[in-house]
Amino acid sequence: MNYEYLYALILLGLAGFIALAAGIKTDNKKILGGFAFIVLIAAFFIILFQQKNYSIASLNISSFDTYWALIFLVSIMVVIIPSMNDIKKRFDVYYAILLFMALSMVIAAFTYNLIVLFVSFEGVSIATYILTAFNKTKRNLEASLKYFMISTVGTSFNIMGISFFYLSTKTFNLNAVGIISFNRALLLSLVFITIGFGFKIAIFPMQQWAIDAYDGAPNSVSAFLSTGGKLIAYMILLKFLFLGFIPDYNYVFFFFAILAILTMTYGNLAALMENNLKRILAYSSVAQAGYMILVFALIGYSYYPAVLVSKEIFVRFAIASAMFYAIAYIFMKAGPFIAMSLVKKDKVMIDDIAGLARASRWTALFFAIMLLSLAGVPLTGGFIAKYFLFFSLIIGNLWWLAVIAIINSAISMYYYFRIIIYTYRKEGENNFNMDPGIKYSVIIMGLITLGLGVSFALYTYLAGIALI
């Protein structure tokens, strides 16, 4: 057995324990946070440079999986420095949990075995229950409790779905399943698994916990919940749907198309008149989930006879746009959540951000850029992501779905611009917490969002690796 492929995993696990052990001696956030950050970067490069196309036990390492693993590491990296401000004490436990979570996520990225996927997913979930409650304020505890209760329901759906899957295919390994004929049990398994993982993605009927939890959690934890926590479930569904089976195109396509339409419409409309800033961002995160699961609808549609282009290219485009969306999403979504720490309050209302531009011109500018990116304004990563997503919808002859998404996107402009207008208002009397960790995180993430806005080459690369 070649352990070279486990170096990153071993490193992350060991580092988690080292962080815990170091906690006996010190609770210095800079030492612990810096350690976690360095470990994550080291893991990032190990994974980046290790050989692709290799299978070991139930791990399967390909360019596609590597990309997701790297994304997950990035999604944790972005919250490390801002959390030094949000989290009040016990940094050893906090960073150890982040490292263990990174371990789970990397495993999830590298596996196609449903049981392993489930376990690593739970590893992330349980870690996030703790993180949500980490500061032990009333709001934290309430959010965590709701999140935990609802997620338990989700977990049971997952287990049911996996059981149904095993019943109809006699295997847990997604790779081992080809295209199989229509089967009610399999369909049921798809629906159950979608419900189970859809909780984390915050798809429409399962979105309600998310609003409360994102609102109540510490800001950097909200940032992680709405990016990394979502993307892992998203990736599992993508693997499941794309590699597992396409039992009946009509069902799969309509199922996800309806879910996508409901999710994005709900998220966008509910955010319009909301005044709690973190809840606006939470609703926006629901809406973004709606755009992202359009890809599932596309994959379902790819087995439809009316598809014009060749199926492989079509699905390749769809998956590449999902992958691009994921990376752009991390920065543009986590950034605004982290920017909430600029406000010196637990419950951030929209008035509280007024006058940010006066307090710090650059922070306000890059905050605005990330919001514009969420809205899909050109020159930002969000625009490219949406552009390719809608583009793949249109070449797949699903232009009506693209039209709905574009209308939704137009509606969403309203609440994003509303926030921006508030930040540039002059009369704000607010004092802001100009901690350099927060300020520079926001600026750097805004810069990366801008950079992604011109990285067409990344999309071309993703289209190359999209089908493993």
Partner: protein
């Protein structure tokens, strides 16, 4: 590697922001940097000219998007035009440093003229019609900005608007023409070539005409002609140019005499092969519009009293000559273009000279423009008077000035046109235009310079220092001597020299008419001075003074009676639906507010909601799945 000749228009473009910034901190040095950049452009154009002595063209291009490429194409026609533009810009820019000396916003003036010159040079060297159109718009924009440079004068602001809107009509037609050509050509062009690439269009005109049909090509070219007509202030879209004289006089010299207004003529000359191979209407339209404008603007010029407007009408008229010369090419071939371009270059020189001389006069008279209030300036400012006399003689085409050679050849060409096609109208209009030219030019000249001063300001007039007049002296020298290069010029443009020499009686007619015109002008001047010229009540005079009511046709009939009511109707409809649309936004946000009511925070409710929701969705799918 980037072709060095791209710098022809990039250098002045660089001056556009820098000139503004430099001027902002050191206003004294405004104009120095832009002059240097224009000098650089001129040097590059001369290098290109030397290169083209042994080569046919310089062509360098990159794909811009889809099948539109972006680049430069410099051939013999282009290099002449570019050299003219760069040289005139340099002369006028140098003079403007004197003319604008005391203006507090002169850094803005110089940065805008830099942008203009960049646009103009870019237009000349661009290799694709789309790029050409882009620069065409830039020069239009700069024209707008610079006419309205003294925006605090209501007249200037109105004139800027008028110029912009009228040329916009032409721009619209031009872009439609490009659309026609593009849609027809996109399936015809070989792969890898842009359908709107200028070298492709002019080198394969015959093939294009047979592929898309001469009538379609004629439609496209007539639409291009419409663009040119608006830009070059030809009848019936000439109304903006006289008003544009409200801008600084150097702007009039640069944009509305020497360079921008010739862009339309240049467009027709550039695409001459397309016009030639299209059905014969298109070049006939060119020659008729040109010749008629030459005659028509001459009539209007006679009754105008504003010194700059006289020159503006003369510009319109001379542009008509150029247009007509190119149109003659339908019968006499490519030498029509050579005649037109030669007159274009000569005209740029002497008209800029006249304008700058007028600028000197206006500077000392504090922008008093009415020629009836001048008089006697010959003694007060002899240097200017002599320079302006040279310009006026050139304009009236008196031998041996350059104007005699350039315009005489056009009229001879028109006679050749008559001989070959039996159509005498162009020749008649052009040769009558000659007499009108002499009348309006010298009426103005005599009223300004002869007799006694007729106002306080005129009595205090004086020449500026000779150093400031040096650009004028250069141009005056050129006006007198450019006739020498007539034949080499034709050879360079055309490849072969056709000098038409009609029968002696016909050939001498233009000069005779010019001299006659000067005599008539002297008569008019004498009557004017003695106050015998009481023709204000004369109906013909009234019609001419009101510019044949064209301005009123456009403003009072077309705008107020036709366009405004339509706009009002649309506006009323829109106001009616505005409320509907506004309430729609409110409805949507209300729905959103209702949506938020399901966020109760109650966990059992959440689970119940989830189960019900999934059941509903599943039911929908079941129903759809059955279908």
């Amino acid at each position: 590697m980037v072709n060095i000749y791209f710098l022809i228009f990039l250098l002045p473009l660089l001056a556009f922001p820098l000139e503004y910034i430099i001027g902002r901190y050191r206003i004294k040095y405004s104009g120095v940097f832009s002059s240097l950049m224009i000098l650089g452009s001129l040097v590059l154009v001369i290098l290109a000219y030397l290169y083209l002595q042994n080569h046919n063209f310089i062509y360098s291009h990159y794909t811009w998007f889809y099948n539109i490429d972006l680049g430069i194409y410099i051939d013999h026609l282009t290099v002449i035009m570019a050299m003219m533009v760069a040289f005139m810009s340099l002369m006028i820019n140098l003079f403007a440093m004197f003319y604008m000396k005391n203006d507090p916003r002169k850094n803005i003036y110089f940065s805008e003229t830099s942008l203009f010159i960049a646009g103009m040079l870019g237009l000349v060297v661009s290799s694709n019609l789309v790029l050409f159109f882009l620069f065409w718009e830039i020069v239009g924009l700069c024209s707008y900005l610079l006419i309205g440079f003294w925006f605090f004068k209501p007249n200037a602001a109105a004139a800027a608007k008028k110029a912009f809107i009228v040329t916009r009509v032409g721009d619209l037609l031009f872009i439609i023409g490009m659309g026609v050509l593009y849609t027809r050509l996109v399936n015809v062009v070989p792969s890898g070539i842009s359908p709107l690439s200028i070298p492709y269009l002019i080198n394969n005109a015959q093939h294009i005409a047979s592929a898309i049909g001469p009538n379609v090509l004629a439609l496209a070219t007539i639409l291009f002609l419409a663009g040119a007509v608006a830009k070059s202030a030809q009848f019936p879209l000439h109304v903006w140019l006289p008003d544009s004289m409200e801008g600084p006089t150097t702007v009039s010299a640069l944009i509305h005499a020497a360079t921008m207004v010739t862009a339309g003529v240049y467009l027709v000359a550039r695409l001459f092969p397309l016009f030639y191979y299209a059905s014969s209407y298109s070049l006939y339209a060119v020659v008729i519009i040109g010749a008629f404008t030459a005659f028509y603007a001459g009539i209007l010029g006679i009754v105008v009293n504003d010194i700059k407007r006289v020159l503006a009408y003369s510009t319109i008229s001379q542009l008509g000559y150029m247009m007509a010369a190119i149109g003659l090419g339908g019968v006499i071939g490519y030498s029509g273009v050579a005649f037109g371009m030669y007159h274009l270059v000569v005209h740029a020189v002497f008209k800029a000279l006249l304008f700058m001389a007028a600028a000197v006069i206006l500077l000392t008279l504090m922008e008093l423009r009415n020629i009836k209030d001048m008089g006697g300036l010959f003694r007060k400012m002899p240097a200017t008077a002599i320079l302006m006399l040279i310009g006026a003689l050139t304009l009236a085409a008196i031998p041996p000035t350059a104007g005699y050679f350039s315009k005489g050849q056009i009229i001879s060409g028109a006679y050749e046109y008559f001989v070959n096609s039996g159509n005498i109208i162009p020749w008649l209009l052009l040769v009558l235009g000659e007499i009108l030219t002499a009348i309006y030019t010298f009426r103005m000249y005599f009223l300004v310079f002869l007799g006694k001063p007729r106002s306080q300001l005129a009595e205090k007039a004086h020449d500026p220092k000779l150093i400031y007049l040096s650009p004028l002296i250069v141009l005056a020298f050129l006006s007198l001597t450019l006739g020498i290069i007539q034949k080499p010029f034709y050879r360079f443009i055309d490849g072969s020299v056709y000098i038409y020499s009609p029968p002696f009686a016909i050939g001498v007619l233009p000069v005779a008419f010019s001299l006659l015109g000067i005599l008539i002008a002297y008569g008019i001047y004498k009557y004017n001075i003695k106050g015998h010229m009481n023709i204000v009540k004369n109906p013909l005079y009234k019609i001419i003074k009101n510019k044949f009511y064209f301005d009123r046709l456009y403003t009072e009939i077309i705008s107020e009676r036709i366009i405004l009511p339509i706009a009002y109707l649309i506006g009323a409809g829109e106001r009616k639906y505005n409320d509907r649309i506004n309430s729609m936004g409110k409805d949507i946000s209300d729905i959103g507010t209702d949506f938020r009511k399901i966020e109760t925070g109650n966990i059992p409710f959440y689970v119940a909601f989830l189960i019900v929701g999934m059941i509903v969705i599943f039911a929908i799918i079941e129903i759809m799945g059955v279908i």
